[in-house]
Assembly symmetry: C2
Homo-oligomer: 249 residues x 2
Amino acid sequence: MGNKPLNSKAQNSPQPVRAYETVLKSIEADLRSGKIKIGDQLPGERALAETHGISRASVRDAIRILDAMGMVRTSTGSGPNSGAVVISEPAIGLSATLRLHVASRQLSVADIVESRILLETWAARSADLSSDPERSAAVLRRTADLLTAMDDPGLNREEFHDLDSQFHVLLSSLAGNAVIEAMMESLRLSISEYVSESVSGDDAWQQIAEVLRAQHHGIHRAVAAGDGTVAATLLREHIDWFYTETRQL
Amino acid sequence: MGNKPLNSKAQNSPQPVRAYETVLKSIEADLRSGKIKIGDQLPGERALAETHGISRASVRDAIRILDAMGMVRTSTGSGPNSGAVVISEPAIGLSATLRLHVASRQLSVADIVESRILLETWAARSADLSSDPERSAAVLRRTADLLTAMDDPGLNREEFHDLDSQFHVLLSSLAGNAVIEAMMESLRLSISEYVSESVSGDDAWQQIAEVLRAQHHGIHRAVAAGDGTVAATLLREHIDWFYTETRQL
């Protein structure tokens, strides 16, 4: 492993070495203390530059990084001047990072798929319908609605993928671990383009969608019946089948 | 869940909406095609700006984001002008993202710990010493050396944590999944400061370190004996104990 100087840096959090890191540290501290909350608007570029005694360019660097990590939303085209709004979409930042490391071949698609199966089968086995019955019932209804929507043969592929993604994320939420949920979603997103590229024709896609629909219904039935073991087995088959079908692993 | 417009964006990868995204997309494509490899130096700021017909400020945005994601290393203080070197340290980008979302309370420390236990016990159960006996033996020797180094009572806390981290990452590598390894490491890093803050005195720390040493030796023995089930049980106890001891979960 060697000395991994960059990891040590992240661990021990010494003084920031770059100007924009001052802003990142300060925003992180304000989030931790509750001074900044999700939904708040960050101070403007000029105010942040004055507060931290750094250039506006460095403030902009920090905002861009927060944007890439799914921590703020900036208005398209208007730049950070107009004020960034604090959001918190961990899967955006995680998937953007994973994508790049898959592209560099540091991470393999096969390992991404294996990880997704691990997280999603854990979520299925850990789903707890009884701890919050009202919420569980709402999730089961909403996922059933998604299945009905996906059954529509007139859907295009993009629409199908969006509903499919919502279905998996919502079902996983029954396990009550937002970290697993975000990681699972980010794994899927990080390789979605590899999948898209490998299924070229619409006919081929329609055949795949037909199988996915049947698998989704089976998974939903098992989860609704509270059978986490069966749900986990079906999910593993479903994910394995899909990636084997859509690319050479 | 709503419509999650940002997720849909990541999924369907439409035209980039911001200038720096053009550079990110292009670098990702070059990584995928093998035109850029780990260890290469990226073209300078001016060259990238000319290639993509965008401002040097936008190029700098892209480089900063790649840096935050653990994809390039830029020389401290010299700015992106001097050329960024392509690295691939997924745990850096993943942990930076997780830290911020933990700070915003979108992700909880308890969920981070539960996720770490899931990944690390999976790695212990999946460790395969026989597929590459030479490498496995080297990992077991190296981790034994780390334990010896950690037994030194003269180590300061920071040094101990660095060795501890190497120990866990190296042992997990026996499962052969770099994604799990990177995610596990990033989960640990994302909450390391919360732990540091909660153990104030050196005496308290020395007592904790004494228990950690004994636990590490037990885990190492189980892994070396090829007993993944015992190793997983000991790891779960170890991680649970550590976080219970060092903070209120």
